[in-house]
């Protein structure tokens, strides 16, 4: 054992001693700490003895072997065999690079859209599981919070339509809207499909056998907007509107919408198809999920009750 070897052993022991002084007291029973300490011992030992090997080699080795043709200002290069381990790694990396180029990167690469899709799918699954079977009151609560985000910018936080800028959802229909629909007809998919209502030139009053008159339009508009209460206008309604909208005004499937009250199916049709009326145009809200649409239906139809 020469001087260098002795120095190496002393240095390793000193390192380990220092490590023990600093961290030894905090080891406890934690297996991870013990493994880390073992790793520190191994690392220090290997590092020192590998270093020693090469230091000794530098001290004793003599230059020999075949020189390469290149000579840079007197500095030459030996033609050495490729170290075996290095060659393995080199050719291994070439094979890995081909795999990574053809399959590894294209298939496994990070994608922002991929992360987004996973995010949304996970959220939707959780949402659907959590809100699969809701009772009426929690549907309404959800509908109210969706309403504030999606509907309030036009219909107002109070759902009053902000001074006629949008439909007042506390009533089924306003008088000027009824009048406009009778005058101009309507085709708003309110029963789920296109079922156009004719304009006044196609509206016959069965009581009189003639087209509906201006005075009749006024009275029936008041009657419908007033929630179909009282008797004034009731006869015009029975003669003209009831054939499609039903005697009670609650509409008929696939024929005419409910004009007596806000029903969930009516709200649903408006949300999915939008609506164009005398107030303006409402866009279709196709971004809502089924549960969300149901929640809105429940909330909005509850406003007028």
């Amino acid at each position: 054992m020469n001087k260098l070897m002795v120095f190496g052993v002393v240095f390793v022991l000193a390192l380990l001693g220092l490590t023990w002084v600093i961290a030894g007291g905090q080891m406890g029973d934690d297996i991870v700490n013990k493994l880390a300490m073992l790793g520190a011992v191994a690392t220090a030992t290997i590092a020192i003895f590998v270093a020693l090997k090469y230091i000794r080699q530098m001290q004793t080795d003599k230059a020999s072997g075949k020189l390469a043709d290149e000579n840079w200002d007197g500095i030459g290069e030996y033609k050495n065999e490729l170290p075996f381990g290095w060659a393995i790694i080199f050719f291994g990396s070439i094979i890995w690079a081909i795999w990574y180029f053809l399959a590894g990167y294209p298939v496994n690469a990070y994608s922002q859209y991929g992360e987004y899709n996973e995010d949304v799918a996970a959220h939707d699954a959780k949402f659907e599981a959590q809100y699969a079977n809701m009772d009426e009151s929690s549907l309404k609560a959800m509908g109210e919070s969706i309403f504030i985000v999606q509907c309030a910018p036009c219909h107002g936080l109070q759902a009053d339509g902000i001074d006629g800028k949008a439909a007042d959802l506390h009533h089924r229909i306003a008088e000027n809207s009824v009048k406009a629909v009778i005058m101009n007809g309507s085709n708003n998919n309110l029963v789920g499909t296109g079922a156009p209502m004719p304009d006044r030139n196609g509206l016959l009053n069965a009581n009189t056998g003639a087209l509906i008159t201006d005075a009749e339009i006024d009275t029936v508009s008041k009657y419908v907007a007033g929630g179909m209460q009282g008797t004034e206008g009731a006869d015009v309604f029975a003669g003209t509107c009831a054939a499609c909208h039903g005697a009670d005004g609650k509409g008929m499937d696939m024929v005419a919408p409910n004009i007596a009250e806000m029903s969930p199916s009516l709200v649903d049709a408006v949300i999915h198809h939008g609506k164009k009326g005398v107030i303006g145009t409402m866009p279709a809200f196709t971004n809502l999920t089924e549960v969300q649409a149901k929640a809105i239906d429940a909330y909005v139809s509850s406003l007028s009750k």
């Binding site: 922002q112 987004y116 995010d119 949304v120 999606q150 910018p153 303006g280 145009t281 971004n287």
Partner: protein
């Protein structure tokens, strides 16, 4: 093999540069060329929409509103599908914006309509309580610059081959054509036709009268632009 290069540092540096840039080029260029193609369903702007876009730029709307929806659920819930680069193929310049004081407008045409824009531009707080957006009353009085919009249409058609008067594939499989008028007078007439359809949905009597008299107020052009953002 590389003796010649190894003895010449300058050319060696050039060779290194070429090799490294080559890697960059084959990675970046093909993707870029593909992503900048117009997305199916993306149409060039009509004269009136382009005039509205100029109003948008003139009033620095992009100072507060972005036109770039990022792929996060919180954003797509609010604004719709995230933006794709092909959708900006006809935007010169793009108006992504760098600050979102107001909401994103990339797809505002899907969830706001003519009458709402009219109310909102006149009195933002009237429809959105607590809004800090100012009112833009002058847009109801100023006349939109159709000449410049038409000039831009001709320019992008000639320089960038923007496909006016050509069939463009739409997302649902149909074809759409955006007209580029042959003369300035025709462009004015076409823009007025488009403006009439929008004014019919508006309430402001002054705007309706102006359009009936052949004038196009800025607000009409702006609404045409807003409605085109889908």
């Amino acid at each position: 093999m590389f003796h010649w290069l190894e003895k010449r540092p300058f050319f060696f540096a050039v060779a290194v540069f070429v090799v490294i840039s080559f890697a960059g080029l084959i990675e970046i260029l093909p993707n870029f060329a593909q992503a900048s193609q117009p997305l199916v369903g993306t149409k060039p702007y009509s004269t009136l929409e382009l005039a509205g876009r100029h109003v948008y730029i003139k009033n620095d709307c992009n100072g507060c509103h972005s036109q770039l929806i990022r792929p996060f659920k919180a954003e797509t819930d609010r604004y719709g599908h995230y933006s794709l680069s092909g959708e900006y193929a006809y935007d010169r310049p793009f108006l992504w914006g760098s600050k979102r004081t107001g909401p994103d407008l990339m797809r505002v045409g899907n969830y706001r309509t003519t009458d709402w824009h009219e109310n909102h531009m006149k009195d933002p707080v009237g429809v959105v309580p607590g809004s800090i957006m100012p009112a833009y009353p002058w847009m109801f009085k100023n006349t939109a610059d159709i000449d410049t919009a038409y000039a831009e249409q001709i320019t992008v058609n000639k320089v960038f081959k923007t496909p006016y008067n050509q069939e463009i594939p739409m997302a649902d499989g149909s074809k759409a054509t955006v007209k580029l008028a042959a003369t300035l007078d025709e462009a004015h007439a076409d823009a007025l036709e488009e403006a009439k359809a929008i004014a019919a949905d508006m309430k402001d009597q002054d705007v309706k009268d102006a359009v009936a008299a052949g004038q196009i107020p800025e607000i009409v052009a702006l609404i045409a632009y807003m409605n085109s953002m889908k």
